[in-house]
C-alpha cells in the first residue's frame, strides 16, 4: 500500500477546517423572500447586530439550550465565539432594548416546529435530510 506523503498530509490537514466549518445548515420558513444571504449577515443576525430581514420584518432567532452540542459547534464555527460568550452578548443586546433574546429549544424537532410557525424565524440544524415541507435551507455565501 502506498503511504501518504508529507505533502498530502499537509494538504489534507489544511483542508480539514474548510470541510467541517459551516457543516450545519441555516434554515428559514419557505415563505421567507430571502434565498441567499452572506455569512456576515448570518453572524450579525445570531449576535443581535442585525435585527431585521431586508424586508424589515424582525428576525426571530431560534437557538438551542446550553449544552446542546450543535449550539457549541455553530457558535465556534459560524460566530467565532464560545456559546457562553454568545449568550452574554445576547444579554447585552436584549437589555439595551435592541432586540428580544433568542428562543431556545431542546432539540432540532422543536426548532423546526418553531420556524414552521414563524415566517420571520431563522435557525440552524445539523443536516437538511428529511426537512419538513414548509422549511428550506437558505444559501449562505462565504
Amino acid at each position: 500500500m502506498k503511504s501518504f506523503s508529507l505533502k498530502k498530509w499537509i494538504v489534507l490537514l489544511s483542508l480539514g477546517p474548510c470541510l467541517t466549518a459551516g457543516a450545519q445548515s441555516v434554515i428559514v420558513h419557505e415563505s421567507n423572500p430571502m434565498h441567499k444571504v452572506s455569512r456576515g449577515f448570518v453572524r450579525n443576525a445570531f449576535l443581535g447586530n442585525s435585527v431585521d430581514w431586508p424586508n424589515q420584518a424582525k428576525i426571530q432567532i431560534a437557538d438551542y439550550t446550553s449544552g446542546f452540542p450543535l449550539r457549541a459547534k455553530f457558535s465556534e464555527e459560524w460566530l467565532g465565539l464560545s456559546p457562553n460568550k454568545v449568550y452574554m452578548l445576547w444579554i447585552k443586546v436584549s437589555l439595551s432594548g435592541r432586540a428580544a433574546p433568542p428562543r431556545v429549544f431542546k432539540n432540532e424537532d422543536e426548532v423546526k416546529r418553531f420556524v414552521l410557525d414563524n415566517p420571520d424565524a431563522i435557525a440552524y440544524i445539523s443536516n437538511t435530510a428529511g426537512l419538513p415541507k414548509g422549511l428550506r435551507a437558505i444559501e449562505v455565501e462565504p
Binding site: 455569512r39 456576515g40 442585525s50 460568550k85 452574554m88 437589555l95 432594548g97
Partner: protein
C-alpha cells in the same frame, strides 16, 4: 415647545401605525429581566455597607407587527423593605418607548429611553453585562464640587425621540450603527415636561469591522442646558464627548473609554473634566473571568486638584446559564478641594438573568 410638538407628532404616527398593523398581523410578546443583590464592606464612612437588593427589572417587549415594537422596563432599585407605610427603595418605569422601523437604516423611538452614550449606558446597570460589579465610573454621578449634588456628565435617561439604524458596509458583516436623540435634556417638570424649553441632543456612532473582527470603535456626544448645572449654575450649557474602543474574543476582552465634559464651576469659570478607564478581562473555562479596571479622573484639566484614581480587581463566575457571582475589591485614592479621599471597598454580588 418644539420638542413637545415633535413628541406628540411621533407618538401619533407610531400609535396610528400600531393600530393599522395590529389588526392584520400576529402579536408577539417577550418577558425578560434580571435581579441583583450585593454585599459590601468599606472603610469609607459615607459608603453603604451590608446587604443591598440592588435591583429587580422586568422588561416587556411587545411586537404587535413586523415594524412596530413597544418596550417597557419596570425597575425596583435599592430597597430593603417596600411596604405601604415604610417606603424604601424606588419603583419606577425606567424605559418605555414605541419603536417604528422604516428600514434597518432608520428606526424611530419615542418615549423614555436610555441615552445612547458610551459602551454601557444603554445596557442599564446589570452586573452581568460588564466586567466590574457596577458600571465604570464614567457612567456614575460625581461630586465635582463640595456641597453640590452628585451628577453625571450626561443624561442617563432621555424623554424624547431617537432616530437610529444600522448600515451594512459589505458582505463580510462590517456595520456602522448610529443613534441621534432629541430630548428634554436634564431638568424636567414634575409632570415630565422640559423645564427650560431647550432640548438636549445626543449622537452615537459605532463601527464594527467585518470578517468576525473582535474590534469595535465608538464615539458619543451629548449636550444640553442642564437645569441644575454640575457647578450649580442654572441652565448651564454643558457638553460631553466620548470615545470607546473594544476588543472582544471568547477569552480576552479589553475596553477603553474616555470622556471630556465641559461645564461651569460655581465661580463661573468653565471646567473641562476628563474621565477615563481601561479594563482587561480573561475568561477561563468559558465561565470564570478575572478582571482589572483602572479609572482616572481629572475634574478640571487646568487644575491639578480634583484628581481621582480607582482600581477594581475581581472575578466573575457564570456558574450556570443566567446565574452570576462576582467578588470585587476597590481601591480609591483622590482629593477634592483640598480634602483627601481614600478608601477600600469589598463586594460580593449575586445576579440572575431570566
Amino acid at each position: 415647545m418644539a420638542i413637545n410638538l415633535l413628541l406628540t407628532t411621533t407618538f401619533l404616527f407610531l400609535g396610528l401605525s400600531l393600530c393599522t398593523f395590529a389588526q392584520a398581523e400576529e402579536k408577539r410578546i417577550d418577558w425578560y429581566g434580571y435581579a441583583q443583590t450585593d454585599l459590601s464592606t468599606t472603610d469609607e464612612p459615607e459608603q453603604a455597607k451590608g446587604f443591598r437588593l440592588s435591583r429587580v427589572n422586568l422588561i416587556g417587549d411587545f411586537v404587535p407587527a413586523s415594524r412596530v415594537r413597544f418596550l417597557g422596563d419596570i425597575e425596583f432599585e435599592d430597597g430593603a423593605d417596600h411596604s405601604v407605610d415604610r417606603l424604601q427603595g424606588t419603583i419606577k418605569l425606567s424605559r418605555a418607548f414605541l419603536e417604528y422601523t422604516f428600514f434597518s437604516q432608520l428606526r424611530l423611538r419615542a418615549g423614555k429611553i436610555l441615552t445612547p452614550f458610551g459602551l454601557y449606558n444603554e445596557v442599564h446597570d446589570f452586573t452581568a453585562t460588564y466586567f466590574s460589579l457596577e458600571v465604570p465610573r464614567i457612567y456614575k454621578p460625581h461630586a465635582f464640587f463640595n456641597g453640590l449634588q452628585k451628577q453625571r456628565i450626561f443624561a442617563k435617561y432621555s424623554t424624547g425621540v431617537e432616530g437610529f439604524g444600522t448600515f451594512d458596509l459589505g458582505s463580510d458583516g462590517a456595520q456602522l450603527d448610529y443613534a441621534v436623540t432629541i430630548s428634554n435634556g436634564r431638568g424636567e417638570t414634575l409632570s415630565g415636561g422640559d423645564i427650560n424649553g431647550t432640548p438636549g441632543t445626543s449622537l452615537r456612532a459605532v463601527y464594527r469591522p467585518g470578517g468576525g473582527s473582535p474590534w469595535q470603535f465608538g464615539a458619543s456626544a451629548y449636550q444640553d442646558r442642564n437645569h441644575e448645572g454640575i457647578g450649580g449654575t442654572s441652565d448651564d450649557p454643558e457638553q460631553t464627548y466620548a470615545l470607546d474602543v473594544q476588543f472582544e474574543t471568547s477569552k480576552l476582552q479589553i475596553q477603553c473609554e474616555s470622556a471630556l465634559g465641559r461645564f461651569s464651576a460655581p465661580s463661573g469659570r468653565r471646567h473641562t473634566a476628563l474621565l477615563s478607564y481601561g479594563q482587561v478581562a480573561y475568561t477561563f473555562f468559558d465561565v470564570l473571568t478575572p478582571y482589572i479596571q483602572h479609572s482616572v479622573e481629572r475634574y478640571d484639566l487646568r487644575d491639578s486638584e480634583g484628581q481621582h484614581q480607582e482600581t477594581r480587581v475581581g472575578t466573575a463566575w457564570n456558574f450556570a446559564p443566567g446565574f452570576f457571582l462576582k467578588g470585587e475589591a476597590r481601591f480609591f485614592a483622590g482629593e477634592l478641594q483640598e480634602q483627601d479621599i481614600n478608601y477600600h471597598a469589598y463586594f460580593l454580588s449575586a445576579a440572575i438573568a431570566f
